[in-house]
């Protein structure tokens, strides 16, 4: 079992920050190269004129998931040590709704706003500032929001367990769904009025 490297001490924790920097650069480079630094390109998925978000997102999730599962099978990584974000049903849904609103209003999400800011997009920079303020507001209002924040605890739930199927089968289903989504996206893009940006 080789990975994950840092939690198992194969790479010292001193390298942790360097790894963050390098991996972040990869992240930023790929996002920007795919066009995620443009708010109008990002918003395209919701109006049908540019499905780049769907294509990149789904492909990335599947690539990483398939990679993770094959690594696990080959004992290159210990899947049990991968951090699973704890699921709080109520909180996640409410958060998702608010974020969705933020996405359609601002045309960015946190990661892409950094990309946009890095190439000079002023709207991206303002978006990032808005985020700071939002977090502060949330923290100050926390006592009121606490109940929702801890609502619907499901622990470190894995989706394939919730559905009662194996991880491999879930991956296959997701792949099929994704390919279906790509086909639909291609058809829609051809039919929607071109937007010049």
């Amino acid at each position: 079992m080789i990975g994950p490297l840092i939690p198992q001490g194969i790479i010292g924790a001193e390298w942790s920050n360097v790894s963050g920097l390098v991996l972040g650069m990869g992240f930023g480079y790929v996002l920007e190269s795919s066009g995620f630094s443009s708010s109008r390109k990002l918003a395209g998925v919701f109006y049908g004129y540019d499905f780049v978000v769907l294509k990149v997102f789904f492909t990335a999730a599947i690539t990483a998931m398939v990679g993770l599962l094959y690594f696990s099978y080959l004992s290159w990584i210990d899947f049990n040590m991968i951090y699973i974000n704890p699921a709080f049903l109520t909180s996640a849904i409410i958060g998702g709704i608010i974020m969705g609103l933020g996405f359609i209003m601002g045309g960015f999400c946190p990661g892409t706003s950094f990309c946009g800011a890095a190439i000079g997009k002023i709207d991206a920079m303002i978006f990032t500032l808005g985020m700071f303020v939002g977090i502060i507001l949330f923290s100050e209002a926390f006592p009121l929001l606490e109940k929702i924040y801890y609502g619907g605890p499901m622990g470190n739930s894995l989706v394939n367990e919730v559905l009662g199927i194996s991880q491999g089968l879930f991956a296959l289903i997701l792949i099929v769904v994704a390919i279906g989504a790509f086909i639909v996206a291609t058809i829609v893009e051809k039919r929607v009025k071109k937007v010049d940006y």
């Binding site: 398939v66 210990d78 470190n156 991880q167 491999g168 991956a171 792949i175 390919i179």
Partner: protein
């Protein structure tokens, strides 16, 4: 362009089928033995009988008390609200679900603490969290809570506070005659309550 995509999609589906069909590597979650030894050494798993008495009296909902002795002993005397998971049945699936707590903390106890330790070690090895042991077990519980020893007159005030608490706990848990006989001796010693030492340093300047 289209042919390329069809090829890639086909490749992806093949990979997916591969994953669905391959036998899943069973990686049972186990705590690393080196870490276990550290935890054994650092003793943080122990809760004192006083702490547990307090939690039971305050009806602290985040704790669960597990009696690991055999049912016969459990039925004759145990902690209020405790559940019985005999060590011999520890690995039953129902018990495994009960003990693999993500919400409550589990406190193992037995007559001494040897059997409780065994249960703790087994569960900890399987990667369960929030596991504790009542230090000294029921024997110590009876010694301290059910028959609290009277501190000598020279003892620090803290010991008297503990004793007072234990007397109250004993009454709460239905201590019976054993406790009351001890109680009669105490009123004379009770007078020796020294002023709390804490207040002086805290006064401080501006």
């Amino acid at each position: 362009m289209n042919k390329k995509y069809v090829f890639l999609a086909g490749l992806l589906i093949l990979l997916g089928i591969g994953l669905a069909v391959l036998p899943s590597r069973q990686h049972p979650k186990e705590t690393d033995p080196a870490q276990l030894i550290n935890e054994i050494k650092d003793q943080t798993r122990f809760l004192s009988t006083d702490e547990i008495a307090r939690k039971i009296i305050e009806k602290d909902p985040s704790y669960m008390y597990v009696d690991v002795r055999e049912p016969a002993e459990f039925n004759s005397f145990t902690l209020p609200g405790a559940v019985n998971v005999p060590l011999s049945q520890l690995l039953d699936s129902a018990n495994m679900i009960l003990l693999n707590q993500k919400v409550k903390s589990v406190v193992f106890f037995s007559n001494g603490d040897i059997t409780a330790e065994k249960a703790w070690l087994l569960c900890r090895r399987m990667g369960f969290n929030h596991l504790y042991i009542m230090q000294g077990g029921l024997n110590y519980w009876i010694e301290t809570i059910m028959n609290p020893p009277v501190p000598p007159a020279t003892a620090p005030s803290q010991d008297f506070d503990t004793y007072e608490f234990r007397k109250g706990a004993c009454a709460y848990f239905g201590g019976g005659s054993a406790a009351t006989s001890v109680e009669t001796k105490s009123p004379q010693q009770k007078v020796v309550v020294k002023p709390k030492k804490n207040s002086a340093p805290a006064a401080g300047g501006c």
